[in-house]
Assembly symmetry: C2
Homo-oligomer: 615 residues x 2
Amino acid sequence: MNTGELVELGQQLRVDSVRAAAAAGSGHPTSSMSAADLMAVLFARHLRYDFERPDHPANDRFVLSKGHASPLMYATYKAAGVIGDEELLTFRENGSRLEGHPTPRKLPWVETATGSLGQGLPVGVGLALAGKRLDRTGHRVWVLCGDSELAEGSVWEAAEQAAYENLDNLTAIVDVNRLGQRGPTRHGHDLDAYARRFQAFGWHTVEVDGHDVDAVDRAYGEALSTDGQPTAILARTLKGKGVESVQDREGLHGKPLPEAEDAIAELGGPRDLRITVQAPPAGGEAPARRITTPELPRWERGEDMATRDAFGEALAALGSARDDVVALDGEVGDSTRLEYFAKEHPERYVECYIAEQQMVADAVGVAARGWLPFASTFAAFLTRAHDFVRMAAISGSGLNLVGSHAGVAIGQDGPSQMGLEDLAMMRAVHGSTVLYPCDANQTARLVAAMAGLEGIRYLRTSRGKSAVIYGPDEEFPVGGSKVLRSSGQDRLTLVAAGVTVPEALAAADALAEEGIAVRVVDLYSVKPVDVETLRTAAEETGCLVTVEDHHPEGGLGDAVAEAFGDGRPVPRLVRLAVRNMPGSAAPEEQLHAAGIDAASIAAAGRLLVGEAIVS
Amino acid sequence: MNTGELVELGQQLRVDSVRAAAAAGSGHPTSSMSAADLMAVLFARHLRYDFERPDHPANDRFVLSKGHASPLMYATYKAAGVIGDEELLTFRENGSRLEGHPTPRKLPWVETATGSLGQGLPVGVGLALAGKRLDRTGHRVWVLCGDSELAEGSVWEAAEQAAYENLDNLTAIVDVNRLGQRGPTRHGHDLDAYARRFQAFGWHTVEVDGHDVDAVDRAYGEALSTDGQPTAILARTLKGKGVESVQDREGLHGKPLPEAEDAIAELGGPRDLRITVQAPPAGGEAPARRITTPELPRWERGEDMATRDAFGEALAALGSARDDVVALDGEVGDSTRLEYFAKEHPERYVECYIAEQQMVADAVGVAARGWLPFASTFAAFLTRAHDFVRMAAISGSGLNLVGSHAGVAIGQDGPSQMGLEDLAMMRAVHGSTVLYPCDANQTARLVAAMAGLEGIRYLRTSRGKSAVIYGPDEEFPVGGSKVLRSSGQDRLTLVAAGVTVPEALAAADALAEEGIAVRVVDLYSVKPVDVETLRTAAEETGCLVTVEDHHPEGGLGDAVAEAFGDGRPVPRLVRLAVRNMPGSAAPEEQLHAAGIDAASIAAAGRLLVGEAIVS
């Protein structure tokens, strides 16, 4: 396309954005109009992409970080000939592929769900990292950002990693239209303000008039010819560009244009230009991956071993058996034991430093390129990345997250380091799997199982050593549980997981000595939960005590209650959980103070069997 | 103190840090030793603080952002004479005030709980903002940061706001000791790398040898004399400084020194220097605050009004009645309706832009200075600040958080904008209150009630309009509920909150026409939950259906189940919640697709009354 055609294409994308939002009665046309020329030049001149084969390894990757500008994206797809005009006008309708914010669950050309600002560039870094360090297929990553979203710290985690990893295959295109949702941004049209920041973080920068298609074209060329560092193109644009009544005006974010027909006329009316997007370079196929069955580490019963250690060893073994496994660290690999993987497979280990949002974004990015990421930090610090996990679920992304140092059982370090809400956070993620092993062999098996699942998989590990209670050949299906104590006389069932399993066993033994037979269930699969075993236990024993090293909300107790949430008769239930605010103390002191140690469990059991209220 | 004494004081702080960690058998002495001279000079020469009166408005504020260096902090307290040597050696013991990471719940001189890295500077910005824009008492804020934690994006959200707000009362002291937990940082001892970043964000910077006490003293002086911008002091230090066997070495993070006695000898043995910390300047009292009863907005039954609108109006009214109310916005005040407050009380409104972590950190900071913060964004985006909320609870901080656009009911914008896990996240916060109103009058009353509570208070609001169902004089105690339909023949109880209340009422009416009497409970107080009403309903109707615009985990259903978690007989329960991944669709289509509209509720009710399993 020549200059004149590019200008026309930009206008076409504006018109189609206005039309889509008008048809929907909602949406963000003004945010689309500012970036229309940037998109026109990118798709017509620089992007290399095979729409017929979205998973082509050599395809460039485009991320719309400002996801609310979805009309622009869909207008571009129409210009590329992959959606029709009729579909364009289904924007935001029930059942349409063209959602308010784009998601890969609906459209194969979308790399990652956006709509929570400040996430596109971080995921773009993950995609570029995959290209640079893992795939090596030479693909480039283009991310269209808003200016408002540069206020998100996650953007600077991304900027830092991108420069440190020399991601010259990454270009951030910043649509500096000066206006956020509520009003002007902090820096308005001061492109230098943004350039200084990116430069300080090690990026090459280009400042450009975002409505001058030739200048934009040269800027993209400059990005392509920049070696050793990522490029940020800071494009001065006008929100609502091209329609006088809305252009560069406040108060018009996220609203269809008031007079759509007039606006379309002012933009020169509908057009039907077609973009021929360049094909990806020939070759560039990713090497076939070797995926074999891992030789998991094995421990003998009675050995002392922390589940975090078992995780580290199992992941290293998984990495040996499968060359698609990638480990992402939050600068705590010596604690989480991700370092075991790092030592054996340094080429597939990424140190993300203390930047948990970026760590999860990297996981989303490499997963989108077909890798199998395991990202790990303290369970407590995964809360830092909650919004990224939420958005990953919307993407339908397949991630393994591993949180160590769960619960009060960590001891002296105190509450800031204790994961006490991670089960609640991870259970509430759509389609997630939540696993909480109590011994080393169980951990190893669950790590291997995670590799075969879909969606967000979460494994919770513990800091302290504990006795191995399962043999190395025992199997632990996801969605299952283990009945560790059982008899025909059971009057009570204790449901535990992780560090509370040995406590529950000790409590059961104590109660047995008093003549109270007690069932013990190891509910290592917190989600999905083993409803059959729980229902059988309820029918046979009449009452259940759950005990968890977690706050009472959203964890094991709730998971058990959910098994009876379909209207069937419900057993009597008692939930023991961490209701206090812990301080520093030894692990056993912590368990006792929280009322989740063997003595507390036995006491609750006695009351419940005596048909008393436990409080 | 003269130079020689400062050097000695630094050594004393090292010795006491080593001794505290040795006594505990854990802790972070090497991270303390790098910053000992920085602390010695600050406390002996520059900090103005009355230890007898920690709430003195003119006190400077010190934040240990690298909270794991707590031994250094406690050693400094000892040198200041406010804790004794005996207490120092209780470090990390059960019941000791000297926790592994400092918290204000235990020690009155600690401004905020730290231990999750990258949070101290953001909260310091909140403290400095209070000083600059609200208190105007001239206090200064000093934050001691680690170098590793500068990888957290939250630090750059803080840097951005601090410069934009011209916080020249804020100094960040960065202990650049080159070593993180697992290994070297990205930038090692490259002070320029950090200086470039802070400068680009608008800060004044000073680079200094962090072990040269005179140079450090001059650097603090330069910070004090810098007008109009915050200062970052980048101090080159050595981890484990002063003990050859650990100094500047990897693999020694978070470990007591191997040979403590030898190390103490190498440091010159114990000393007993006393710091006389300067008193805060005379005067500088904060003005007395006017706190009266708000004249809340009132609506008539049957009016159409969104709860987000009611929140906005009620908060503006609260701000008129109390001059301690501060509103913090995430650049969505036009959507959350925080803009109503902004228009009436611009002097107490802070636009934090799209930086939710910083928004919550500001709330923590201003709350620590006695203000009553209300921070608001979309419920979905509060997940971004999850770790800050978690740490705020550890601080015992009093915050009001308001999440708008809850649930699938927002409609076309799609899942990225829908808060579907916010109830789970907020319920699992220790000591939190979670409120979810269904109409305007209820919202206004709950906003007023929040002001009188402690801890983390969360209000969930809805985007769409709904009919006002309560009169303007109705009261809504926190921990209560409203029984909206009730008779002696009720065979079922529907428990709803927010947007599902009108759906439940419609379902009840439909079932009543079929001869099935149904009770309806508006459970606006999700935590604490009204156990009495729920238990009565269970006894009288035998079965309960919960219905919520939230994922099934951690929300209303779990809150109801918890009311029966003490071993008493449990009613039959069915929980209706959002189990699908929503797309774009109209609000009523969304409710139907999720199975939480009136028709779905009525269908579940019929099955349950017929003693069928509902699935």
